[in-house]
């Protein structure tokens, strides 16, 4: 761990090695990313042969949660800030679509503007308060703020209250809208790829280097004259806005929004995705989302023909098994699935 004036030079070397590798032999992490994206891109084609529309729906859910997990990873993985409240921003994006549609506004650009505007502003305020704390208190204060949003959503009687709100319609962009499942899937997929690409640029930019260095040694960065608070706050706002986008997509996928979208368990699941896949890697959160959501899907509908009615027991009480799986993940996983594959963590 060297944080010095040689940062940029090291980074240039690393980038040069990466370029060389791409031209010649492919590195495992690039191969993994390529395979992952190719598989995701092929899902609607596979669905026409096997799996049917359900496959596209579950894949859409995976892609949307992967997007949110990438957002969380920016603060959690690269910033070292354990936010336990990012479900708040997914819910906010979904509610923006739901409430706007209820008032007859189905313009997708307006949805995006409202959601990102409100989400960005809220993240700025909540981030500025939360980031005054650190470590344990930061985890709890982000959890508390998300819970605050949850109870506010419950009290939105005009918009379904605790039962949630059916959304009659989709975000409309001129002649197109997101009502077609395949169109929605590809929009989500392209956004995921774009955000992943942007993240990979962002974390090697000056901003990203300062953020990552702050994670390792904030005092030193302050001593070097960096206003670390600003970097952390900007990272928090960006990560929140990525989750807001995931929320917009989620509302278009389910045509429904309820306070449950902001529940603390969703924030917990997001953290599991990031850690399971590999923190502070660009592709890790996507891997984590794919693996976790597939496990959930399989456990809750397990049908292996196990003896003694074990199948029924597992599918009825799959959350207990998921819980044990998460405990094991926390105890055993050091670098996550993808992190182990590529064999490098967030080194500076």
């Amino acid at each position: 761990m060297t944080i010095s004036l040689h940062l940029n030079e090291q980074e240039r070397t690393a980038a040069a090695t990466g370029r060389a590798a791409r031209l010649g032999r492919m590195q495992p992490r690039h191969a993994a990313a390529l395979v992952l994206f190719a598989a995701l891109a092929a899902v609607p084609f596979i669905a026409t042969f096997a799996g049917g529309p359900y496959l596209v729906t579950i894949a859409s859910r995976i892609v949307i949660m992967a997007l949110a997990a990438i957002g969380l990873n920016l603060v959690l993985g690269y910033g070292g800030l354990v936010s336990f409240g990012h479900a708040l921003y997914i819910g906010l994006g979904a509610y923006a679509v739901g409430i706007a549609t209820q008032h007859g506004l189905d313009n997708g650009l307006a949805h995006i503007a409202i959601a990102l505007g409100a989400g960005g502003l809220l993240a700025l305020v909540l981030g500025a308060i939360s980031l005054r704390t650190s470590g344990m208190a930061f985890i709890m204060i982000t959890l508390a703020f998300a819970q605050m949003a949850y109870v506010s959503a419950v009290s939105l009687r005009g918009y379904g209250g605790e039962d949630g709100l059916q959304i009659a319609g989709s975000s409309r962009f001129g002649p197109f809208d997101l009502s077609n499942a395949t169109v929605l899937y590809y929009v989500a997929f392209v956004l995921l790829a774009a955000v992943a690409l942007l993240t990979s640029r962002l974390v090697v930019s000056r901003f990203g280097m300062v953020l990552r260095a702050t994670k390792f040694n904030e005092q030193r960065m302050v001593a070097l004259g960096f206003k670390t608070f600003r970097f952390k706050l900007i990272a928090y706002v960006i990560s929140a806005m990525i989750c807001v986008i995931a929320g917009i997509l989620q509302a278009n996928l389910t045509h429904f929004v309820s306070p449950a979208y902001m529940q603390w368990t969703v924030s917990g699941e997001l953290i599991v995705m990031v850690v399971l896949g590999g923190m502070a890697t660009v592709i890790g959160p996507i891997v984590g989302a794919v693996v976790l959501l597939l496990i959930e899907d399989q456990l809750s509908g397990i049908d292996l023909g196990l003896p003694g009615g074990a199948d029924a027991f597992v599918s009825a009480h799959w959350l207990a098994f998921l819980g044990l799986f998460i405990v094991a993940t926390a105890l055993v996983m050091k670098r996550g699935l993808y992190g182990t594959l590529v064999g490098e963590g967030d080194k500076l």
Partner: protein, 302 residues
């Protein structure tokens, strides 16, 4: 009538605050001494309530039920500490959050497996079941009993922490774990002791709440979140902070839920007033926390 109602609600608030204190006192010690996040403290509260209800169903004795709830929860706590938590003390907060999050899901499902998905209920002890007269309002004396037990336990905890040798070691470990270890204290044993004590207190809170609330899977989570707010506001590791924080949150929560709807009913339609005031009440607690942290990030008593 109104004075009586105000007094009754204040007593309710203080009683809720006492329950919250039992939760926060144990958890703040765990957080402060082991520097370890434990989100499954609410699950221990739930286990306390379930174990008590189960024992009561068998024996119809509140005392045995209470003993089963407290001791059983303490045992659950010690097992969890040995199997999971003790492996996490030296790890990052993130790993601790993850593991205890997994444990919450696990325990929520375990109670469904053992006791079924329907909520259980528990009777008040016969001694305290007959309503008494509180300035003209019939009031269940059980809540006074809860208050009494809570104050007793708070007193005992104060004596334990400030007047005994164990207490000195606990405070020393809270202030500086590394130094305490190098002075020859068996930190492993101390950790187990403190975690067991915290679990027993959470179990006791669960037992005392069990006749008043619906005993169901997930019942610990709202309490856990209030507990975390109290601990952060009071200062992590400070039992005194937990005490004042719990009382403030308990009274604000109860009084707000009762009197705000009355005020708002003059302005708003009935069911809407109920919902809005529940939100404002919850909000005011979080706003209080936000203000405290904005001014004193380390908490009030730290």
């Amino acid at each position: 009538m109104t004075t009586a109602l105000v007094i009754a609600q204040l007593v309710n608030g203080v009683q809720f605050g006492v329950l919250l204190f039992l939760m926060s006192a144990g958890l703040t010690l765990v957080l402060g001494i082991m520097n370890c996040i434990n989100l499954m403290h609410g699950s221990l509260y739930m286990m306390g309530a379930y174990l008590a209800a189960a024992a009561y169903g068998q024996t119809h004795s509140f005392l045995i039920a209470a003993a089963a709830g407290v001791l059983g929860t303490m045992m659950v706590g010690v097992v969890v500490e040995r199997l999971v938590m003790s492996r996490l003390y030296s790890r990052s907060h993130l790993d601790q959050v993850l593991a205890t999050f997994g444990l919450i899901l696990f325990f929520n499902e375990v109670v469904r497996i053992v006791w079924g998905p329907a909520a259980l209920s528990m009777e008040m002890p016969r001694l305290f079941a007959q309503p008494i007269d509180l300035v003209g309002l019939p009031y269940p004396p059980y809540r006074f009993a809860v208050l009494g037990v809570g104050v007793l336990v708070a007193g005992a905890l104060y004596l334990l922490i400030h007047k005994t040798r164990t207490g000195i070691v606990i405070r020393a470990a809270s202030a500086n774990p590394a130094m305490t270890r190098s002075l020859g204290v068996n930190v492993k044993l101390l950790n187990m002791l403190v975690f067991g004590l915290g679990a027993a207190l959470a179990g006791l809170a669960g037992v005392m709440a069990s006749p008043i609330v619906a005993i169901q899977s997930g019942m610990g989570e709202p309490i856990l979140i209030l507990t975390l707010v109290i601990i952060v506001t009071g200062g992590i590791g400070s039992v005194r902070g937990a005490f004042y924080g719990a009382l403030i949150v308990g009274v604000v929560d109860t009084v707000g839920r009762t009197f705000l709807p009355m005020l708002l009913r003059q302005l708003l339609e009935h069911s809407y007033a109920q919902a809005v005031s529940a939100t404002i009440t919850s909000m005011s607690i979080y706003v209080l926390m936000a203000i405290v942290l904005a001014v004193r990030p380390q908490g009030l008593f730290r």
